[in-house]
Symmetry: C2
Subunit: 357 residues, 2 copies
């Protein structure tokens, strides 16, 4: 059966990098019999410019009826003056909520060919391979009440609410334990249980779910310590699971340990394994339109999509091997440039991956 993929280029470098992923999908369809069809829609600042909303209903409907969504990136300084409800980011958050994508999988992998790109000493990060499982549709990102209110004194007060139910915690923990079972069977749950009651409940539920996974070694870490340990000795981690906000911060820190965030994909899944896939880097407005952005994180996001949502792991392997090959050939976009390698632009990098496939 033909699977439907919704393509959301988004803002900044989004359209350029997504174009390379689309070329790749076309090639897999034409030459390797991958049964997919694609459709394209607007989201983020691009959608706001078009119709005044960062997530038009038509886009959300298309996303709901697709088997998977490929997103470039959203946001940019152009839309920063807008109120939060109209910002490009709201388009992304609306997709996550609308599709129920509660499980965000963010690998932080150091490609051996790019070991030099890290700001950390080689012995600290060589072979790094962490999977961060971030809760994505709850917590302080979505909690009510929220907003800015004016007190009787005339002074204003800003409020957001961190809230998790047991079932929300349970389902993300199950994803994390399942992920750990497929990897090295070590799971670190990150909380601030010594201060925040909400994450005290988080820890309690993590322990309870852990009883169903006796083979997984469960540990707990306070978020401040986790931030330290990622810098001190990141290879101690296999899988980490945490809240929406902590996951936002820690997954970016973990990604940067590799020195090559232009290489890192991500998956956001719902209970039916329907998913949205996107590079972890942002829309990089400073280099948008120049044809120099690294398309590999988006291309690797397609690989994750094939593996998690389209049940086509053989195509995923194919892509990952092709990416490894172009790195071995010494091809590099600007963000991962190094002495002795060959500088290429976005399209040339995409072409090289097609070639390698």
């Amino acid at each position: 059966m033909t699977k439907k993929i919704l393509i959301l280029p988004g803002d900044g470098i989004g359209p350029e990098i997504v174009a390379e992923a689309v070329k790749l999908l076309d090639c897999l369809r034409a030459d390797f019999g991958l049964a997919v069809e694609t459709e394209t829609a607007l989201v983020g600042g691009a959608a706001y410019d078009d119709c005044g909303l960062p997530l038009p209903e038509s886009t959300l409907d298309l996303a709901k009826s697709a088997d998977a969504v490929l997103l470039g990136a959203v946001g940019g300084p152009k839309w920063e003056p807008l109120e939060i409800a109209l910002r490009p980011e709201k388009g992304l958050l609306g997709l996550r909520a609308g599709l129920g994508l509660f499980a965000n999988l963010r690998p932080a992998i150091l490609y051996p060919q790019l070991a030099e790109a890290s700001t950390l000493k080689p012995e600290v990060v060589a072979g790094l391979d962490i999977m961060i499982v971030r809760e994505l549709t709850g917590g302080i990102y979505f909690g009510q009440p929220r907003g800015v209110e004016t007190l009787a004194s005339g002074e204003r007060r800003g409020i957001n609410t961190l809230v998790y139910t047991e079932s929300e915690i349970e389902r993300i923990c199950r994803v994390a334990f399942d992920t750990a079972m497929r990897r090295n069977r070590r799971l670190c749950s990150v909380d601030k249980a010594n201060v925040l009651e909400c994450t005290e409940l988080w820890r309690e539920v993590a322990i309870r779910v852990g009883r169903d996974y006796p083979e997984v070694e469960l540990s707990h870490m306070y978020v401040d310590n986790a931030a330290m340990q990622l810098v001190r000795a990141p290879k101690q981690f296999d899988v980490m699971v945490t809240t929406n906000m902590f996951g936002d911060i820690l997954s970016d820190a973990a990604a940067m340990l590799t020195g090559s965030i232009g290489m890192l994909p991500s998956a956001s899944l719902n209970a039916e394994n329907q998913g949205m896939y996107e590079p972890i880097h942002g829309s990089a407005p400073d280099i948008a339109g120049q044809g120099v952005a690294n398309p590999l994180a988006t291309i690797l996001s397609v690989a994750m999509m094939l593996r998690y949502s389209l049940s086509a792991p053989e195509h995923a392997d194919r892509i990952e091997q092709a990416v490894s090959k172009v790195l071995n050939q010494g091809l590099r976009t600007g963000d991962i440039a190094a002495p002795g390698t060959t500088a290429v632009g976005t399209a040339a990098m995409g072409d090289a991956v097609l070639e390698a496939i």
Copy 2:
């Protein structure tokens, strides 16, 4: 006039490291005419064991009447099964709230003698000198409502509230701008204004306060990006200002960039410059009682105390120079050990600083 210092050894390695700081204060008093008197009290797990409360009223009263407080560290696995309200950490939070210590200054400084200790490449961290100004008596640490409630369905739900008034944001921003004026006049305010309305207000107020400091270059960064940038290029920062929770995470990450958290002091100040001073490292229960902990962060906390709360900067300089001298002599506790240096324990390190003074 004789100044009063309250000494709170706390838990774990707290008593050992604080003992070295007390020796130092005694020496400054006896040999250099520093007019201070000290008193000692219980806090944290030690206080809980003694009277069932992590912050006895008598301790808080003594703290209020002191000019400054020196704290070792609190917490340990022994007290983790306790409910949040009775945990050692609550003693610390109670002191912060009770004394109104809203401004937490956390320097992340790389000592040139310890450059090798960092997990980052030398060129990335050489000369690192960041000051993180963390809001300490508001935000999600103290916001109401909080707790775990049971829903009609029987399911439980955990809640914490992130809340800041304009005046709370304003006063911490003023401390940060003042700090920047005494340094390199660059201030980065860290928020999540693209998602959290509370921190949108934070950004607005930071901009407004900035108008009073035209000489300070103010920038804004989302917290996830800040976590990345600390790993990628930490020397881009001079002073950072942020919320209680973000500051907890980022200051620990920044500290770990130096590779020697056993060296880093901190100050927590109220509007009258009354302050609590403590090493940023924890109570390290695994090495407690062995006489191997590094007392230098506590000793440097005394230097901060002399500078910020006791108006005795000449004594602060004296201590900092003495610490530099013992490092130059090659003395190292276990946490900062390196080939070719001389291993010493807690007391020997404290003695060496006295000697150097």
